[in-house]
């Protein structure tokens, strides 16, 4: 985990916030609201979206066509957030998301990125040898499945729509959402029924 912020960093932050307020660029209330939105966001949001897509074809179509609208349809505020794109895994294609340039991540629906997502090792290796990276997560794809690495380089943020695993027939949305992990939404893992 990250070290706690240094006192001089906090003092600098205080002065920056005061300057932004004094210039009328943001208000304290806006900053508090944004912090609350960021703190509320977690992979549970993305998991609920996936579970609904698995059970509701119309929602699935919306999710793939317009991730931002699909998030808002679940009550997530996307105001000010980058547009969300959703990548559909199929029996012949598996998506893996990385940001080689920095740490772009769909925070609105997955929350804060994990440390490994921001690491030099993941950023360098995911794009270069994705199958070796997947294997280290215990993710072994069947023969005939293409790996498509999605390098999140600019204004969009990307989330994976995993395939619904066998053995989940008849499950309700809550039970389905419980097996959709953050790692599956980034693409390093796949959901399992057991």
């Amino acid at each position: 985990m990250a070290a706690p912020p240094r006192p001089e960093s906090l003092a600098l932050l205080e002065r920056l916030l005061a300057a932004l307020e004094a210039k009328g660029i943001v208000t304290a209330a806006e900053i508090a609201e944004r912090q609350a939105i960021t703190d509320r966001a977690s992979p549970k949001i993305g998991a609920r979206m996936v579970a609904r897509a698995w059970t509701d074809p119309a929602y699935r179509a919306l999710l793939l066509a317009d991730g931002t609208a699909a998030a808002e349809a679940m009550g997530v505020s996307m105001a000010g957030a980058p547009p969300l794109g959703v990548l559909e895994n199929t029996p012949t294609r598996h998506h893996l998301v990385v940001c080689t340039l920095c740490s772009c991540y769909p925070r609105a629906v997955l929350g804060y990125p994990p440390g490994w997502y921001k690491s030099f090792a993941y950023r360098a290796r995911a794009v270069r040898e994705p199958r070796a990276v997947l294997a280290e997560w215990g993710t072994h794809l069947p023969e005939g499945v293409e790996v498509r690495v999605v390098d999140s380089t600019a204004d969009y943020r990307w989330m994976v729509l995993p395939m619904r695993p066998e053995g989940t027939e008849g499950w309700d949305e809550a039970r389905l959402a419980a097996i959709v992990t953050r790692d599956a939404l980034v693409g390093v893992a796949v959901p399992k029924a057991g």
Partner: protein, 101 residues
């Protein structure tokens, strides 16, 4: 600068083999490993203020952003044939590569 997209889905495009970081301070969103490489436009993603200007607080004209698909080999020899890399690339980094797809 926010006219209709120049490249249609399926167009073959070459990423400019340009290295602004060698000329001075810059902020670019085009990864090094695709420069000079040929890919295929999947679709335009919309127009966004040019981050190369935004980063320096300059007026930032909107530029069309594309999803461009590249084959793993030859970009990375560690990749398996048939695997791909999908990257967001701004229009001013792309030129026609001929051929189509």
């Amino acid at each position: 600068m926010s006219e209709a997209p120049r490249f249609a889905p399926g167009s073959a495009v070459r990423v400019k083999d340009d290295w602004p970081e060698r000329r001075g301070p810059c902020h670019i969103r085009t990864p090094h490993y695709i420069r000079g490489r040929v890919g295929r436009v999947v679709r335009p993603l919309g127009a966004f203020p040019n981050p190369e200007d935004l980063a320096f607080a300059r007026p930032a004209p909107r530029r069309t952003l594309y999803h461009v698909l590249f084959d793993q080999p030859p970009i990375w020899q560690e990749g398996r044939p048939g695997d791909t890399i999908l990257v967001e690339v701004f229009e001013h980094w792309l030129e026609p590569a001929g051929g189509g797809a």
